[in-house]
């Protein structure tokens, strides 16, 4: 049983009279611990696919089994609970809450999950240390650099120790060097066992992934696996 099993997924957006097939008949199986880069031209359905994987969106047809459980039929709040426990998101535009400090942003998922404050503090402190942000705990997002912001966002996405980390163009707003730093961070998390699915336009980043899914016009055109590197 694969960690992620998509079968016959359709996602159709209704725009007035016309319909946009953002995803057509997508089937995709991803094992736990895989590192997948989703690539393809703009408008090919990459973000739509990632949103479905993250339970932020529902397909019009098809089945999505996450860890063996059909999650397409869950209620909104049940899906929220799955997101809280199993899925972490990293966005291109960071999505930090501007009025909260770095530490408070990182603590958000813990707070939403109802974890008591004293336990939160130690976990947040450790996460900030892990991502090289100790000195920035009490800075607000507008006092941080782009790379620091994305590191805060990654710390936040992983603070609940999710099984699945979804990143939609995580380096899209960063310069090359900072982008590579962030990519390395994500790869470290993958190396530690987290399934990593990254949407990217950056070919070099795509090259690094062990598996590349190429999308075109809502369908998977190619699904390339790099043979395991010689040890």
């Amino acid at each position: 049983m694969a960690q992620i099993e998509l079968d016959g997924i359709d996602r159709i957006f209704q725009l007035g009279d016309s319909q946009v097939h953002a995803l057509r008949d997508v089937a995709l199986h991803i094992e736990a611990g895989e590192y997948v880069a989703v690539m393809g031209p703009s408008g090919s359905g990459k973000s739509t696919l990632l949103n479905l994987l993250g339970l932020l969106d529902r397909p019009n047809a098809g089945h999505y089994r996450l860890e063996g459980r059909d999650v397409t039929t869950l209620s909104a709040d049940e899906q929220a609970a799955v997101r809280s426990a199993r899925i972490g998101f990293v966005f291109q535009s960071f999505h930090l809450v501007p009025r909260l400090t770095a530490a408070e942003n990182v603590a958000l998922p813990l707070m939403l999950a109802g974890i008591p404050a004293h336990e939160r503090a130690s976990r947040v402190a450790r996460a900030l240390r892990d991502f090289g942000l100790e000195g920035r705990a009490h800075h607000r997002p507008d006092e941080l650099s782009g790379g620091q912001r994305q590191r805060v966002a990654i710390a936040r996405a992983t603070i609940m120790r999710p099984a699945l980390l979804l990143a939609d163009e995580p380096t899209g707003n960063l310069d090359r060097a900072t982008g590579q730093e962030v990519t390395a961070l994500l790869e470290d998390l993958n190396a530690a066992g987290m399934t990593l699915i990254v949407v990217t336009h950056d070919p070099t980043m795509g090259e690094r992934a062990r598996r590349r899914v190429l999308m075109e016009d809502g369908a998977i055109r190619e699904d390339l696996r790099r043979s395991p590197e010689p040890a």
């Binding site: 949103n51 993250g54 932020l56 969106d57 909104a76 709040d77 929220a80 609970a81 997101r83 809280s84 426990a85 899925i87 998101f89 966005f91 535009s93 999505h95 809450v97 501007p98 009025r99 909260l100 958000l108 998922p109 707070m111 939403l112 999950a113 109802g114 008591p116 404050a117 936040r156 609940m160």
Partner: protein
């Protein structure tokens, strides 16, 4: 999300947008302050009138010339427009009724008083010996008006404390002669300080026998007759006897009015109570307006923070958690507004009391409770819709919006 975290998150959010929050608190506090202040004013007026009339004494009937509308009392009751005068003979006849204990005929006017070179304007009350007990006044020195026939115009006067101090200072006033208009009168007594009621303060009065005052003002008519009955139970039968007697004395015509303290008090209590309620109602409308403002401000907040809501959902927040967070924010802002308004209203009532010391302008407890309660209620009620809208947002759409 624990309640403490929801509270902390909501208060941080409220503080994160100071202008918006301040606006909402201001609107709410103005509404609450308006209710608190206006009810303080209304209830103060009510209490003022009640206290004034209470000073009259309980077993009192007041006869005034002219017929006012059935039973009730209106401001006209205190302005005489006379079809047939009340006279000293009427007053004397009333005193002979078995249920009547005391009778004080009343004639009132303004005159000039002079002693030596000093001169001032005073209010002259022509009355009789019983007036002292009916009004519950006390004599400081000397004696009150003599008990004598209402028709006798003795040349004596009893003066109030302020008049005495102004005209005689430290000297003894008893036995001294004063000039009141064209009349020379002997001072036989001075009033104790601060007997008051019905807007008449005994400090500033000169009391003379009723016939003396009538001669002075060149009238045979009375302004009022005050009648005290033998006990409270006697009030109603005495009123009937009194009405029968007076009717008989004026060829069966009912062209006079008898009012009781209870009726006056009851009427004023009702009128001013209704006024207070009405004023409170009008002020409450401002609270409803504040409620609508709360709703709009919260809707703007939801729009402003759409991205944040999408993020919270992506991080695993349930619809309930988001609803509660926004509702708590609306509740907190309303509470702040209610408290600020409460303080503001009390400050306003205090200012009214400073400006009008006679007016006991304290907001009634019910009004304060109602104002604060309504503020919280409207805040939460009008906060529900925006909170639901926030919770219902589609996470993908919300995240896309920056």
């Amino acid at each position: 999300m624990s309640p403490a975290d929801t509270l902390r998150f909501a208060s941080r959010a409220a503080l994160g947008y100071p202008l918006r929050s301040a606006l909402m608190v201001l609107a709410m506090s103005i509404g609450v302050a308006a209710v608190v202040m206006l009810t303080a004013l209304g209830d103060g007026a009510r209490r003022y009138v009640v206290e004034e009339f209470s000073a009259l004494g309980a077993n009192l009937l007041i006869v005034l010339p002219g017929r006012t509308e059935t039973g009730g009392v209106n401001p006209g009751s205190f302005v005489s427009s006379t079809p047939r005068d009340l006279t000293n003979d009427d007053a004397a006849a009333l005193l002979r009724l078995p249920l009547v204990l005391r009778v004080a005929p009343l004639t009132v006017g303004n005159s000039e008083i002079s002693v030596g070179g000093r001169l001032r304007e005073v209010m002259v009350v022509g009355t009789s010996a019983d007036y002292l007990d009916i009004r519950g006044f006390g004599v400081a020195s000397g004696q009150f008006l003599p008990r004598e026939d209402f028709g006798r115009a003795s040349a004596v006067a009893v003066i109030g404390e302020t008049i005495r101090a102004e005209l005689f200072g430290n000297q003894n006033a008893i036995g001294r002669m004063i000039r009141l208009g064209d009349h020379r009168l002997r001072v036989i007594g001075t009033m104790g300080p601060a007997g008051r009621g019905l807007g008449m303060n005994s400090d500033e009065l000169v009391l003379v026998p009723v016939a003396t005052a009538q001669a002075m003002f060149n009238t045979g008519a009375l302004f009022r007759i005050m009648v005290e009955t033998r006990g409270r139970e006697a009030l109603a039968p005495a009123q009937r006897q009194l009405e029968d007697l007076l009717k008989a004395r004026r060829d069966g015509e009912f062209d006079f009015t008898v009012i009781t303290q209870d009726a006056v008090l009851g009427t004023f209590d009702r009128i001013l109570g209704a006024l207070t309620l009405g004023v409170a109602g009008i002020a409450a409308i401002s609270l409803a307006v504040a409620g609508i403002l709360v709703m709009n401000v919260m809707l703007v907040a939801v729009t402003q923070r759409t991205g944040e809501i999408g993020l919270l959902k992506a991080l695993g927040a349930s619809g309930r958690a988001i609803r509660l967070a926004f509702l708590t924010e609306a509740g907190l802002l309303s509470l702040a507004g209610a408290l600020a308004g409460f303080a503001l209203g009390h400050a306003g009532a205090w200012a009214i009391r400073l400006a009008f010391p006679a007016l006991p302008a304290w907001p009634p407890d019910w009004a304060v409770a109602a104002a604060v309660g309504t503020a919280l209620g409207t805040g939460l009620l009008f906060g529900v819709m925006p909170a639901r809208r926030a919770a219902a947002l589609d996470p993908v759409q919300a995240l896309m919006k920056r």
